[in-house]
């Protein structure tokens, strides 16, 4: 059964790559634009550190590493699960109904029929920042470190997806969900920087209510000597937990969903 799903996913992936190679110019612009966008965000840290040399004892590379883990997790999320942003659109125009009657699990189909090739630009920037800062922080990086890092980053992508998907399911019942989800997404930006900079309320909010910190700060803590090592190991656990919650809400939503009619 699992094998079947893997085969189907790879078949979709293949189709998408083929179609991307057909429209190279448009995809190239997409990739360049996300690349420029992420570099621009990183430039904030770069410019600030042209004027000072540490913030609360955090060095440039330590802050860049936290930022990089966030960016890389988000990049994988945007690459694999970009469709969550279109859920509201599909439901509104009635196109979602066709996904319900597919012979495969609806959520699986929804996640796999389109990959966001444009996010490759974001992935490149994320990898560059993460690996450059990691090598500056730790003298010796071994294969275990890299494996742990990849595990954390993929968990981070799943965490992003769950946090965005849960409020998105409002679109099955109400219309203005997109603006609400946009606000939920923006809260994530707090997690780009070390938790130490914020007050207690924000720290708790982005660790427990919207656990974005488990896609950036906590996993990064595994490699830094700023504490929270044990919390970093919880990263995959948090990802699984959030997915369990998200699946329950998703299944409940589509069970009670009656189409807008077309």
């Amino acid at each position: 059964m699992l094998l079947r799903y893997i085969k189907i996913y790879l078949a979709f992936f293949n189709q998408i790559i083929k179609s991307a190679l057909q429209y190279k110019a448009d995809y190239a612009i997409g990739i360049c634009s996300t690349f420029i966008m992420e570099i621009s965000k990183f430039l904030f840290i770069w410019v600030v550190f042209k004027n000072i040399n540490n913030i609360h004892g955090w060095s440039f590379y330590e802050i860049a590493f936290v930022f990089g883990v966030f960016t890389l997790s988000k990049a994988f999320f945007e690459f694999l699960f970009h469709n969550v942003w279109d859920l509201e659109y599909f439901v509104r125009v009635g196109a979602f109904d066709t996904m319900l009657i597919k012979p495969v699990n609806t959520l699986f189909y929804f996640c796999s029929f389109k990959i966001n090739i444009g996010a490759i630009g974001e992935l490149v920037v994320g990898f560059a920042i993460v690996f450059k800062s990691l090598f500056e922080i730790k003298q010796h990086v071994n294969i275990i470190d890299i494996s742990v890092l990849l595990l954390f980053v993929i968990s981070g992508a799943f965490i992003f997806f769950a946090i965005i998907m849960i409020p998105s399911t409002i679109c099955f019942r109400f219309i203005a969900s997109r603006e609400f989800v946009r606000s939920v997404q923006e809260v994530g930006s707090f997690a780009q920087f070390p938790l130490n900079f914020y007050n207690k309320f924000i720290k708790i909010f982005i660790s427990i209510v919207l656990p974005y910190s488990f896609a950036s700060f906590y996993p990064a803590s595994y490699f830094l000597d700023k504490g929270f090592f044990n919390a970093s190991l919880l990263t995959p656990v948090v990802a699984i937990l959030l997915w369990a919650i998200m699946l329950k809400i998703w299944n409940y939503s589509i069970r009670n969903y009656s189409s807008t009619g077309s």
């Binding site: 634009s33 904030f44 946009r182 606000s183």
Partner: protein, 266 residues
């Protein structure tokens, strides 16, 4: 007189359309507040133990980030997505066939968007921030008036940039890709992300060759009194020169792009 009536009608319609989509305005506000709060904490941490960096105190920095977030949320989006959507779904054809100048038409729509934004979001946010967040009041009446003049010029420069990016969609289907690139470039080079005084010298040389700093950094510096009194007029003149340069440039570019389409047919 007929033409003036039509213009007013267009702008009024656009404002009504904006108000109808008010959920969008709320999300602007919330997103803006979140960004200000994040910047507030980061800069407070940066300023720990320091009274001023690059001539900015922490209080001034907070004034800067609130003002720049109020301005950038309007300038970030812009009318280019509207134009590229029209090009993609073909409705641009009817607009081009009309005797009404297309660029002027888009300019009026943009004015409607701006008026709506400032009346509903911008000005209330500004007044509220003075009372609640310690946003510094303008240093004098003259600097405030000059700030408003600079702001109006800056916003019009932004319009020309947006129009240019929108018309670029005649050459590429990827309107969103262009939008993200524009947002990234503008966010950095306009000073929205970080006051341009913080940039290393060589980067500032590049910044001064571009019009983007006149959209956000220049008006805010006038407001904050960062620009000495004798320099203000020079700065406003520079802004105005850019304004006319962009007007000419976008007009020529637009004519070339339209001719290319009509020659190709459809």
């Amino acid at each position: 007189m007929q033409k003036v009536a039509k213009i007013i009608e267009l702008v009024k319609m656009r404002i009504k359309a904006n108000v109808a989509y008010s959920a969008f305005m709320w999300s602007y506000l919330i997103v803006g507040i979140i960004q200000v709060v994040i910047f507030y904490f980061i800069w407070t941490a940066v300023y720990a133990g320091k009274s001023s960096i690059n001539g900015f105190t922490l209080k001034q920095m907070i004034t800067y980030i609130i003002l720049s977030r109020i301005l950038v949320s309007q300038v970030s989006w812009g009318i280019n997505i509207f134009i590229s959507t029209k090009i993609r779904d073909g409705s641009i054809a009817t607009d081009l066939l009309r005797p009404f100048d297309f660029q002027f038409y888009i300019y009026l729509l943009r004015t409607g968007d701006l008026l709506c934004y400032f009346l509903i979001n911008g000005i209330p946010a500004f007044l509220f921030s003075i009372v609640a967040f310690g946003l510094q009041a303008p240093t004098s009446i003259t600097s405030f008036v000059l700030f408003v003049v600079s702001l109006l010029i800056g916003v019009t420069i932004s319009f020309f940039v947006e129009f240019f990016v929108g018309v670029l969609s005649f050459y590429s289907k990827n309107g969103w890709g262009l939008q993200y690139t524009k947002m990234a470039v503008l966010d950095f080079f306009s000073g929205a992300m970080v006051p341009l005084a913080f940039l290393p010298g060589w980067l500032n040389k590049i910044v001064n060759l571009l019009p983007f700093k006149d959209i956000i950094y220049t008006p805010i510096s006038i407001y904050m009194g960062v620009v000495p009194d004798d320099q203000v007029v020079k700065v406003l003149v520079r802004q105005t020169i850019w304004l006319f340069a962009l007007l000419v440039f976008t007009r020529i570019f637009y004519k070339i792009a339209v001719r290319k389409i009509t020659v190709q047919g459809g």
